[in-house]
Amino acid sequence: MTDPKFEYLLRLGDNALVLSQQLGAWCGHGPALEEDLALTNVALDLLGQARMWLSYAGEVEGQGRDEDALAYLRDGGAFRNLLLVELPNGHYGDTVMRQFLFDAWHQHLLAGLGQSKDPRIAEIAQKAAKEVRYHVQRSAGLVIALGDGTELSHARMQASLEQLWPYTQEWFESDPVDAACADQGLAPAAPTLAAPWRASVEAVLARATLQMPTYVGHQRGGRQGVHTEHLGHLLAELQFVQRAYPGAQW
């Protein structure tokens, strides 16, 4: 097995990178100017976080790969992001629900990582946590506004929730990488985030008058590099310039 810390850092970096790319696709297409700005600003925060995680991943790996090499020159099977973040943007409500489910988890994860025994992980997490607190306030507010909105918006948000729900289970499953990092005190064990996440989600869904799905998820594999059909399309766009013009500089 490759170094668990390297693998874990890729997971963190790839979640942020892929979700950032997804949100960036809303630029110029948001339902209102304010939302357009918000989606792209959140994307920018996530991109900054991705850069910090991937830079560190490259250093830990020690093979001379920097953040750009890791972002632009890996194929889909080498990406370690959760499946949820690569799911299509869908309609605006889908994007909002995806964001909320992720933000609610992300803030609990970062709070745990802020206590990491690895000082570099701790400082990146503490920095990111401040940004994510703002993200989750916004996405939770939108879930409530749309869930407890019109009959149509309510129905759409309920449908979004049910469609995305099966993809949330893998976040809380342990695997050798996760267990190794938890044992070394580098990161909180994935299963420990389940209860706090569920409590956050439950509270917001209740105010949004949305029904929490009762079934558990069954879609898994992102952290191990087994992805949905959507990731390849996303990477084709993300990586095009570097693939077509290797070494091109901005």
């Binding site: 976080q49 503490q126 306030q137």
Partner: protein, 199 residues
Amino acid sequence: MNSALPSRAAHPPSVAVRASQEQLMGWLDQVMDPEVPVVSVVGLGIVREIRWHDGEDLPPGAKAPRLQVVVTPTYSGCPATEVIARSIREALQSHGIPDVEVTTRLSPAWTTDWMSPQAREALRAYSIAPPVGSAHAGIDGSQVVDIAGLLGAADRPAVPCPLCGSRRTRLLSQFGSTACKALYQCNSCLEPFDYFKPH
């Protein structure tokens, strides 16, 4: 910005050997945030340390004395970060310090609580409402938001209008023209304005 300005070429810089901390901070106080050009990097609170290096702690081949400026980023993805590092190097070089190294320090994470009173006043005069209250945003990062608890407009502190001073203002958009700002509108004078978010 071009570092080879004609006025500087006319007066070749002499090495300001070991300028004092006060002098250096004074020079850096002239380096403005490119996105909020009335607030300096010092006023913003992102300059964390200035250190002269000479002798043993210099990397091989580096000329003494070398000046290290430690800055902390505001937001992770803020595109101004790289411009700021370049501006700092150029400003100090123009004062005769050829070897300036700008390094980044993440911890403790930047907070708007570090903004100087002068910087806040400059923001207000520039029609940007400065952050209200302390960010209290737990720089240990261990706190999580009680998301069920703080969502209503009533929970947000009033942001006084930087133009007329009225406290009857409302949030238009949680994000504004840059990552660090939100967009508000004054219900009294009706002007929309930027609000520098507590962070």
